[in-house]
């Protein structure tokens, strides 16, 4: 399909040519420049040395893109309650489907799922395909894959969005492999072109690089998206769209997996896993005042962390310490409350996506790295902030 050819005669500076490859895929063997198995086809070499490297494409696999219609969303659920990522994906699916004039489909599988099926109709799907079977009570890979396969064969959607949940991350690759098609994990930006090709942008290398990926010659196009990347549409009072109940042979729903027991998890989360962190610093005068930090963290679905002085005072667990002698965190949001921002602390948190620092000292070091430097006393700022967030959270 595509390869890179080397024009040996055009090589002038051998050293420079070899160095251009970030993956060490270029080497000289018997005086000949070869591309070894480390090549990722990033084509950087072609960009830098267009006379040495040439990209040739030949016969592409052909897919009839018109035969695939619709943007489908897999409805993820836990104990018969829909995972909110599913609604966010319906919103994204709607935006893309409208752009290309396609319908939005949802796939719902499980046991006793009627209530969930109706709930989906409040979010603007055109058609919900429902597979309701006792064998689908627990998520088990073979029956879930079989149902997904049945759905794709019946509906032929061009794009399929799956939530990046525990189930979604296990199920989507399995189904994509069955259809020998592409799957892009954890997309943060999705868009669709007029020819129904899906533009998928995702982070790689632990978020240090973004990659723009497409699936030009295969259908369906699979993407997984994590929770809270897109916006969920508002729930409408009226139900639109239709429910289509589907049957599938019980023979396809057998599994080599038996669920013996389900144990509720006790919530022991470490601050490294938290998306939102509220840090309590030295400005807290009394131990009981920490309740402000805990309340704020609760409201934001986050965790409280602290700095060294508070650990030494015995106010919090050492596992909550951020900094060189504690943990390194990279949350989406960190709010430091009365933290001065010593270098040892900053080293453990400065790669957070958004940093809000509250400190009454206008010269606090923490302000050097904060995206929002809020000069104020935590005893004045936090109570009002908490009160206002509570008000905002109350449904209108």
């Amino acid at each position: 399909m595509a390869k890179i050819i080397v024009h040996q005669n055009a090589i002038k500076d051998r050293e420079a040519v070899i160095k251009v490859c970030p993956f060490n895929a270029l080497e000289f063997i018997d005086d000949e420049l070869i591309i070894n198995a480390a090549c990722k086809m990033c084509r950087i070499c072609i960009k830098r040395f267009p006379d040495v490297f040439e990209y040739v494409e030949d016969d592409l696999p052909h897919v009839d893109k018109d035969a695939w219609r619709g943007v489908a969303v897999y409805i993820d659920h836990i104990e018969n309650s829909i995972h909110p990522v599913s609604f966010e994906l319906i919103g994204k699916a709607r935006a893309m489907a409208d752009k290309i004039g396609h319908p939005v489909y949802c796939l719902l599988m499980g046991d006793n799922v009627d209530a969930m099926a109706e709930e989906i109709l409040h979010y603007g799907a055109d058609e919900v395909f429902v597979y309701d079977k006792p064998a689908l009570h627990h998520f088990r890979i073979e029956p879930y894959t079989a149902v997904f396969e049945d759905f794709i064969n019946k509906v032929h959607p061009t794009i399929i969005l799956v939530g990046g949940t525990t189930v979604g991350r296990s199920l989507a690759p399995r189904v994509a492999a069955r259809f020998r098609t592409g799957l892009t994990a954890d997309c943060t930006i999705l868009d669709v072109q007029d020819n129904t090709d899906l533009d998928q942008i995702r982070p790689a290398y632990g978020g240090n690089i973004m990659a723009h990926i497409h699936t030009p010659n295969h259908r369906p196009q699979f993407a997984t998206v994590r929770y809270k990347i897109f916006d969920a549409p508002a729930r409408s009072e009226t139900m639109v769209g239709k429910l289509t109940h589907c049957d599938i042979s019980e023979d396809l729903l057998t599994s080599a997996i038996k669920v013996i027991e389900i144990k509720k998890k006790e919530k022991v989360k470490s601050i490294e896993d938290a998306d939102v962190i509220v840090v309590a610093g030295r400005a807290f005068k009394k131990e009981e005042d920490l309740s402000m930090a805990f309340e704020l963290a609760d409201l934001l679905g986050g965790m409280v962390a602290t700095t060294r002085p508070l650990i030494e005072a015995g106010w919090t667990d050492p596992r909550l310490q951020i900094g060189l002698s504690g943990r390194t965190v990279k949350p989406k949001l960190i709010i430091t409350c009365g933290v001065s921002g010593a270098i040892q602390f900053v080293a453990g948190m400065n790669s957070a996506d958004t940093i809000i620092a509250i400190n009454k000292d206008p010269h606090a070091q923490i302000f050097n790295i904060a995206h929002y430097a809020v000069v104020g006393d935590i005893y004045e700022v936090l109570p009002e902030m908490i009160r206002k967030i509570k008000a905002l959270k109350k449904p209108a």
Partner: protein
Amino acid sequence: MAEIGAEEHMNITVCIKQVPGTSEVEIDEKTGVLKRDGIDAKMNPYDLYAIETAVRIKESQQAQVRVISMGPPQAEAVICEAYMMGADEGCLLTDRKFAGADVLATAYALSQGIRQMGAFDLIICGKMTTDGDTAQVGPEIAEYLGIPHVSNVLRIHAIHDTSVILEMNMAESVEIQEVMLPCLITVEKDIFQPRLPSFKLKLQTRERPVKRISFKDLEDQNERHYGLKGSPTQVLKIFPPPVNTTSERWEGKGEELGSRLAQKLLELKFV
């Protein structure tokens, strides 16, 4: 395939990968080229847990631990490292025809390589890699081998002749499952503390070969299933992530600031 009794030992295959030594890679804004300073290679850290799991099983019962990797010839280093942790046998899939493989083509080639290595009862993968970060290769290998898989395994309770009892990590619960062999599992990083490579084993395994598997050794000889040709996804470009360059200073009365912050959090979708 799962007749362990007949062979008297369990065959465990662990899939491992060599990844860049750091994920702190940067892209030169002007040229779009990945800066290569300090990019040495190492074993994908999550794979250490997979190897440890296999070696622990081997310590508790008769088992043979094989490791398989795909990559350039240099990736042999991670197989030798697995030897130092207790793996018995290793093989490296390496061929220019495998180059440019995306998840699907990688999983397919590995599944072909695993078949090439002989019978298998249990396949163990790490949770994900630190370069691709997809966590998809394991499930896709299982699909191509036609065996069940369980992702996010937290613990292994018991291994019987024909099944394994394990704990799967779900978002809000832990499921105890019995899975018939052969099967594939991906393990969480807390399953066991990986041991350090042993110097004694390093000496013992110095001469142990790493089997090379190239395209011509595989059963499926259709070139379109491997490497770039077998990859449905294509990377159009790579670019540095957007950096939050906001730098605002807010001053004023405490209460006003608190109210403004709440509004900002709503705007940033944290409320």
